[in-house]
Symmetry: C2
Subunit: 180 residues, 2 copies
DNA sequence: GTCTATATTTCGATAGAC
DNA sequence: GTCTATCGAAATATAGAC
């Protein structure tokens, strides 16, 4: 899929030929579906990607039951099962020709699709008296950053799988580093 | 600086002309300093970047005294004062023409420059009995991922500054989300 | 709808004057 | 050392046949 290419190699790193090859088309044929070219294709791919993430996250959380730890592990499993989203970087830094207004909208869309579902379950846990009073949005963002960062860990580089690493990170975040 | 460009826009996203402009040169003049072209320039820029990070991290830690929280805050301040490193992504995903052996070496160099200084202070804290038994390498990586992710938060997007966000994340990581 | 062919632009790299 | 000039390759985009 094209989103895989974009998130792996960045906007500038992907050519329309690569994408066309992947779909089994010629490069020029893409312009039938995306008359305005590469940039339009990128935007639509990102929109689809974020929509898929919201869906996937909410489904994963729903299937995980009501336990916070299990919910976070389900979130991690989902994020690791998908190509890295690199959630804002790509939008802001890579596509310099992108219309600023559209860039801002994409950022908002990315945030609501990825952060909100996680933020919600943290607020649930706060309301249930399970977690301390913390900023749920900041917490959700932090978690996403950590988990997305796992995509950058070469699988040969550690003795643990990415999912094991995710579980360790979740445990750290829930219980804290500090001994008491 | 060129490292700013590379870390912001990725290898493919940066042109030699941009870099030359920034240095106040013509594109062709770069070949006097980097006869082997863009790839050589990239590698040398990354090496310098990582070396600067090791230095900066160790200095920040040293100046912060022995308190763990203050040390972590100093680390955050340093990382946020620098352009995002995007620590492994750039190397693995962007430069497809890069010699695999050199890529692997760069990854190792990045790891030892960024992770090791932080890993060390976590192990110090473990030895001092301050933090629980956790995997210091995983913890250090997780912290870096969270803090580096802050570069992606548009400053207009939150009511807190990046440094405040960093302090909140550090507090969360140290004390944990879970109430007890 | 998808193709071939090609125009246009951009980029990395080289040659040679100064 | 830095420049101008330019080449060749690659990428985006367009035109038009089928």
């Amino acid at each position: 899929m094209a989103d895989d290419l974009f998130s792996k190699k960045g906007y500038a790193g992907v050519t329309l030929r690569e994408i066309a090859d992947e779909v089994g088309m010629r490069q020029a044929s893409l312009y039938y579906y995306v008359p305005k070219g590469k940039e339009q294709l990128f935007i639509e791919v990102m929109k689809r990607t974020y929509a898929r993430h919201r869906e996937g996250l909410e489904r994963a959380i729903g299937e995980a039951g009501s336990d916070l730890t299990q919910r976070l592990q389900a979130i991690a499993a989902w994020l690791l099962s998908q190509p890295p989203v690199d959630y804002i970087r790509v939008i802001f830094s890579d596509v310099s020709t992108l219309d600023p207004q559209q860039a801002e909208w994409l950022v908002y869309y990315a945030n609501s699709s990825l952060v909100e579902p996680i933020q919600t379950i943290i607020e649930d846990a706060k309301r249930a008296g399970i977690v301390t009073s913390l900023d749920a949005e900041v917490a959700a963002n932090g978690l996403i950053m950590m988990l997305e960062g796992l995509h950058n860990v070469p699988s040969t580089y550690t003795k643990h799988s990415r999912l094991q690493l995710a579980d360790m990170l979740i445990d750290m975040v829930l219980n804290g580093w500090v001994k008491r």
